[in-house]
């Protein structure tokens, strides 16, 4: 899609980056499995944990904040509040998941319980964020392109 708005293009690029991270997360979780906990010297996992923490804190949280503080109010002002309500509900579910995942990832020294939790939350995060990205790609971005002007977002 050729984006008219710089904001739409930026959100799309961030979705692409998040999809790449989710693919890595999925592969790594599948490789290690739910048990036993991985050894500390698992370099692939360590690299993923670093990327995951950086992405959650530096990209995903700011991405959600930008939508909630700029995009959704602009859409509501024009008359579309349904998409904002739908996506806000999803943010409210995904953000606590992401926060807990980042907390576990920062510690990195997994025992059986913390790894089982990380594994479970990681799988849930992957499903929910991917679904959310799909919804934004087919719903939010076209809506922004249709309804908003560059100076509004």
């Amino acid at each position: 899609m050729d984006y008219r708005l710089e904001s739409s293009r930026r959100l799309h690029d961030e979705h692409m980056a998040a999809e790449g991270l989710l693919a890595r997360l999925e592969t790594t979780l599948a490789r290690i499995g739910r048990a036993p906990a991985p050894p500390p010297e698992d370099q692939e996992l360590r690299a993923l944990l670093g990327s995951l923490t950086a992405a959650i804190e530096g990209e995903i949280v700011p991405h959600f904040r930008f939508e909630e503080e700029s995009v959704f109010p602009a859409l509501i002002a024009v008359g579309d509040d349904a998409m904002a309500a739908l996506l806000r509900e999803e943010h409210d579910v995904i953000l606590p998941l992401a926060s807990r995942l980042a907390e576990l990832a920062r510690r990195a020294d997994f025992d059986a319980d913390s790894w089982a939790e990380f594994h479970r939350l990681g799988l849930e995060f992957r499903v929910r964020l991917r679904d959310h990205i799909d919804r934004e790609e087919i719903g939010l971005l076209p809506l922004m392109e249709n309804l908003l002007e560059p100076e509004e977002v």
């Binding site: 899609m1 349904a82 790609e137 087919i138 392109e145 249709n146 309804l147």
Partner: protein, 158 residues
Amino acid sequence: MAPEMLADRLVLRPLVATDLAAVVAIDQAITGRARRAYFERRLAAALRDPGGHIQVAVADREILVGFALAGVLHGEFGQDVTTVALETIGVRPDHRWKGAGDALLGGLEEVMRHKAIRELQTQAAWTDHELLRFLDHHRFSLAPRQVVGCAVAERGSF
């Protein structure tokens, strides 16, 4: 002679710029809000990119009673093929469940056939029961990866 049926009077046609006021009125009757800016901007988007948008209307004796707005998604993220996304559909409350919605979706499907597009999708709030019933009636099904959740402490009794 058999009485004329409402469904027989309905005429499907493209939505045009002069329908704007009627569209706003129908939408206001449904939502309770006048969303003129929304429809003006959506109209401007369609004029800017006619190939990326589909608009159909249904009229009863030349009076607009329903409309549907949709966008064409050309192999967007996560999609391998071109699809159509139904954005907004509205039918005058006194014409609901009398064939206008069927005509609108039929019109969209006709345009899609001309464009060789096979998939129509939309998004609806989990709690919009009437719209979900309409979509179910028209054989829409849940997309994969749909996640629904419920906080156990907040769940009501069955």
